[in-house]
Symmetry: C2
Subunit: 145 residues, 2 copies
DNA sequence: CCTTGACCTCAAGTTAAGTTGAGGTTGTAG
DNA sequence: CTACAACCTCAACTTAACTTGAGGTCAAGG
């Protein structure tokens, strides 16, 4: 019952495609070992990894950043409660930050988009507009759902 | 002083690259008219459009969706306060929704990632895990910063 | 007039996060 | 022992949102 899982089983249980699991593996997000016949076998905690991966991804964290966070998890053994807690703490700060940003935006929009305040210097949107000039052309922005 | 703007000026003021402005134009997000010598000229309200575009993009709204929203803006004339307010209202609902989702996630993570509750059926993460199987392989997810 | 910087178009390249397909192997059920 | 589903690898394709480059035009200063 606490048998190891095949890719197909993990795919079914976690809701991601087999090809996505292969891909995550190349990115170091999950690991597996192989049977005699070269087929992947996963230990059960891969399910938790994938679940957390998806949740993080949904809130706009890139796979690269998730990989960085996962790097703090132990390599050889199944993560303990403490290991996950460390991650949780890191995520929580990030989520708090994102929530604050969204709230700022929502409130800024409520006050500003329709208010005609583009002409006054106090408007967040207007500020944004002229301040960002410094950033100039840069790298691609990420994409998230 | 209320002269029209060149691409370079808009780029500098709005903090996006000239190439990005060209690109937005092909996507119908902004418009310009041409001088005798075929150079673009923008009316001042393009600055507001771009500012809002970037803000919306930052919170994870795709250009396609932004274009949809912008489609409700008047074609010929400069948008009025009412026009922007309509947009603002649409954004606000979306932002509220996103904020609620993030909060749910943050709280869920706080309770769940480190709690070892993967084994009990009440855990949001665990539920997510097995419920999503229905979705199966699907379209790409978007990417946003 | 000529140079120099800003513009123009169009095609091709880039990154993220996967998917799709071809060609071949494994494992299990009948 | 033979189907047939599930697995394997590797290369190529996809989408979003741009950037980069090539090859050529426009405009303002000296």
């Amino acid at each position: 019952m606490t048998r190891e899982l095949t890719v197909g089983e993990v795919a079914k249980r976690s809701g991601v495609a087999v090809s996505a699991l292969h891909f995550y593996e190349t990115r170091g997000l999950i690991r597996s070992h192989r049977t005699e016949g070269n087929q992947r076998r996963y230990s059960r905690d891969v399910l938790r990894r994938v679940a957390i991966l998806k949740v993080a991804q949904d809130v706009g964290i890139s796979l690269a950043d998730i990989a960085d966070a996962f790097a703090s998890l132990p390599d050889g053994r199944t993560p303990t409660r403490e290991d996950w807690t460390r991650l949780s703490t890191a995520w929580k700060a990030d989520l708090d930050h994102r929530i604050r940003q969204l709230q700022k935006l929502r409130d800024g929009l409520g006050d500003c988009i329709g208010c005609g305040c583009m002409s006054i210097t106090a408007c967040p949107l207007r500020n944004r507009e002229d301040r960002l000039a410094a950033k100039g052309p840069g790298a691609h922005r990420l994409v998230v759902q």
